[in-house]
């Protein structure tokens, strides 16, 4: 703590200030009715898809587990409605490819009551048991990443955690679902924070909230328990304040090393929505059946935050919120800066969907009218990149297909695709889009090299074994420092770009 931290607003370096468009922040969360058909993809989270434990024709009740987790990095699914399993088949997903989906036909009499729960005494649970209970709720990071929450809270034992950072930034424009949850479910949130702190063994928790939400800051500050273990910290309103590394820097003043995780500096970051839902689900022993989704944008007549049952088709949500029937529109899942456009209205709301934005024709035409120029080297992207990269240079290298150079000399691997560079670029260059392609290509190349190396290593070892067979038992050459020259292995190594040291079959016998 230095003197400056008293006067300066807590934040990170660089970043951008997009218009907030958070018009739905003042309206309470409303409920959305059940859709006649509920579509639950088995892969709604990062990790292995869940495994169905119901069969076609089986009746299920709201809250009943219908698919189990497949291993550690996986979560179960629960039925969001009372109904009957109509099919388990391939259906379109938001990402494009059709995926295995459980289709439930909703009973018309289905009620809001969750009829499948096992209330438990949370105080009696150990850290390990809390993690298991979290996995059983099927909870994932609700900020959009959909990473299983219990996995995120399971930190390696050699990295002690001192602080749980609670992410209430909601730095994406348009989205207000976390804001509303902080106001309406603050008691649940405090409980959830307590469970997560026990799960990771953190001494304190810091709730980071952007200072454009003074009501949330005030109401949570009034709720925090005595003793000072939980603090509310107002951080500067700036995109991408809600990115893990940025928030850890702003709230704690700690810099996560490049290529590392917050655990490397003793912190774990969790989203407020995730913890608020855990706070209510865990003691009741229920599974996740719904989430809050911000439905907004210029193409929506009744924008607002809604409790949406998981698996509700996009078409039902948009009909309910009053999407304008224009001939052209753009539908985005998540926020406008990092969200994903969807191609079909038949994809369902899944656990990771924080918002549904509908842009109308006018915005699309505006976008298409913009000309693209070559990079004029204005340096705006360099001033915007929160990771301290040089997107201008990376963009030119991407244009020249110099992907390897981007990875080695210009730190492409540190880019987390926040999109600030594309947002500011006056030349309208799709910088972050190019970086995604470059990263995918580099991943493929790394995979290919890895496989080739493994094959080569196996061949070299076989050859070494063969040579050893023909050697006299007390070979002097090792002592004199004389080395065998496996010309074959060396030549292959050169072909693979100088990785010879990795495949040298006898690296230790240098004098």
């Amino acid at each position: 703590m230095n003197l400056f931290s008293l006067t300066r607003r807590k934040t990170f370096a660089r970043g951008v200030h997009p218009a907030s468009h958070k018009s739905t922040a003042g309206t309470p969360i409303r409920r959305m009715p059940f859709a006649p058909r509920i579509l639950l993809p088995l892969a709604q989270h990062i990790g292995k898809p869940a495994v169905p434990i119901v069969s076609v024709g089986q009746e299920v009740v709201r809250g009943q587990p219908i698919a189990r987790a497949d291993g550690f990095l996986s979560v179960p699914l629960h039925a969001p409605v009372d109904g009957v399993v109509e099919a388990i088949e391939l259906r379109p997903s938001a990402r494009g490819p059709w995926t295995e989906t459980i289709v439930i036909r909703t009973f018309e009499a289905s009620t809001q009551e969750v009829r499948w729960s096992e209330p438990r005494d949370m105080d009696a649970l150990s850290a390990r048991e809390i993690l298991q209970a979290i996995q059983d709720t099927g909870m994932v990071g609700l900020g959009g990443a959909a990473f299983p929450s219990h996995a995120k809270l399971s930190v390696p034992e050699d990295k002690p955690i001192h602080t749980l950072v609670v992410n209430g930034c909601e730095c994406e424009p348009y989205l207000t679902c976390d804001h509303r949850l902080m106001l309406e479910r603050s008691a649940d949130l405090m409980r959830g924070i307590g469970y997560a702190m026990r799960a990771v063994g953190a001494r304190q928790a810091v709730i980071g909230i952007e200072d454009n939400k003074p009501d949330a800051i005030a109401s949570l500050a009034a709720m925090v328990p005595e003793g000072g273990q939980i603090r509310v910290v107002a951080v500067k309103t700036k995109y991408p304040q809600g990115a893990e590394k940025m928030l850890v820097k702003a709230a704690l003043g700690l810099k996560v090393p490049a290529g590392g995780l917050p655990a490397d500096v003793g912190a774990v970051v969790n989203n407020v929505g995730t913890l608020a839902m855990l706070g209510s689900l865990l003691p009741q022993g229920q599974g996740m059946t719904e989430r809050v989704v911000t439905v907004t944008g210029p193409g929506i007549k009744r924008p607002g935050d809604y409790w949406v049952p998981l698996g509700t088709p996009m078409r039902t949500v948009l009909d309910w919120a009053g999407a304008e029937s224009v001939s052209e529109r753009e539908i985005i899942l998540g926020g406008p800066m990092m969200g994903q456009a969807v191609a079909s209205l038949d994809v369902p709301v899944t656990k990771g969907v924080s918002g549904i934005l509908v842009f109308d024709q006018r915005k699309i035409q505006e976008e298409e009218a913009r000309k693209r120029y070559p990079c004029i080297k204005c340096g705006e992207c360099v001033k915007a990149c929160p990771m301290g990269l040089n997107p201008s240079m990376l963009g030119m290298l991407a244009g020249a297909r110099e992907y390897d150079l981007m990875g080695t000399d210009y730190h492409l691997g540190d880019c987390f695709e926040c999109g600030c560079c594309t947002y500011v670029c006056p030349s309208n260059i799709p910088l972050v889009q190019q970086f995604r392609v470059a990263k995918a290509i580099l991943r493929e190349r790394a995979q290919a090299i890895h496989e080739a190396l493994a094959a080569e290593q196996a061949a070299a070892q076989a050859e070494l074994a063969q040579v050893m067979e023909h050697l006299p038992i007390d070979d002097e050459s090792h002592l004199t420092g004389q080395r065998f020259d496996f010309g074959h292995a060396e030549g292959e190594g050169r072909k693979l770009g100088g990785s010879r040291h990795k495949i040298n079959p006898h690296p230790t016998d240098k004098p």
Binding site: E330, L345, F359, C375, G388, V424, P426
Partner: protein, 347 residues
Amino acid sequence: MTAQTPQIQLRTSPHMKRGVTVERIMLNVVLALLPIVLFSIWQYGLSALALIVTVTATCVVTERLFNRASRSASTLSDWSAVITGLLLALTLPPAFPLWMGVVAGVAAIGLGKVLFGGIGFNVFNPALVGRAFVQAAFPVAITTWVPAFSPTRFSEFVPTTFTVPLMMPPDISEWARQALDGFTGATPLARWKFENELTPVQDFLTGAVTASAGETSAILILLGGFYLAARKFLDWRIPVAVLGSAAVLAWAFHLHDPGHFPEPAFVLLSGGLMLGAVFMATDMATSPVTPLGVWLYGILIGVVTVSIRYFGGLTEGIMYAILFANALVPLIDQYTQPKVFGQRRSS
């Protein structure tokens, strides 16, 4: 699927853009230059007007012709050719023969910009490439000055303006002496360098000095700079670094030998330093992109300018200082890459 199936747009994020475009930046630079252009015309009259119009039109036409030749779409709508034209005209003597102005404009766009691949690809500031070209080609004409505020400036052209193409301009020293009493035909920098005679600071502020068309209005140049910097269309660090380093260096020399070296105010206001620092060193395509690099680049320009003025053969150094720094920009960028978040220095 019915006929009403909406067409859904698919794009990758971000789905929001800041509304600042290349066109908007360039148009604002043109707006910031307009007061300087108008002041220049008011100061030097019809000849300056003819020169500014001719040079700007030449730049625009040259760019269009190169577009045609390369069968590409017109690039005029980005306004950058207009900026090059205006800036080039402002760096020329007001009575520069028009045909030489045409040569300067063609050199600026042709050699300085299109040859490199157009906007964003040029290494050197195009306006200064044009000026350097005519400085080498027409050494007499580019140092032939006319008096500001001559009484007849709105009723007649300076005789040199309409020189027949490919011919040498007539000698106008007699005409200039008649136009304004006591006119010597030397710029303040030349008078300081060769006659050790200092021009008072208030003359610079009122524009009553002999100079290139756009070099006399320090206040208007600074106002334009403030406007662009406030709207973030210009990196304020560059003019601050150029003017700051020039002032500090000049001050050090002045302390060392007040009799020979002038005060910093004279160094900042005389010649093209102000125009160059605010409008030419800040050209985005030819300045560094890294925050640290921008400081180095600006300081380099300030130091080289003062060094040329004090120790070089020329009276003015800003043009070569900027061109020299332009050439070093790739190197500066290379060695001032920003520090990656969370990166340790050792790795």
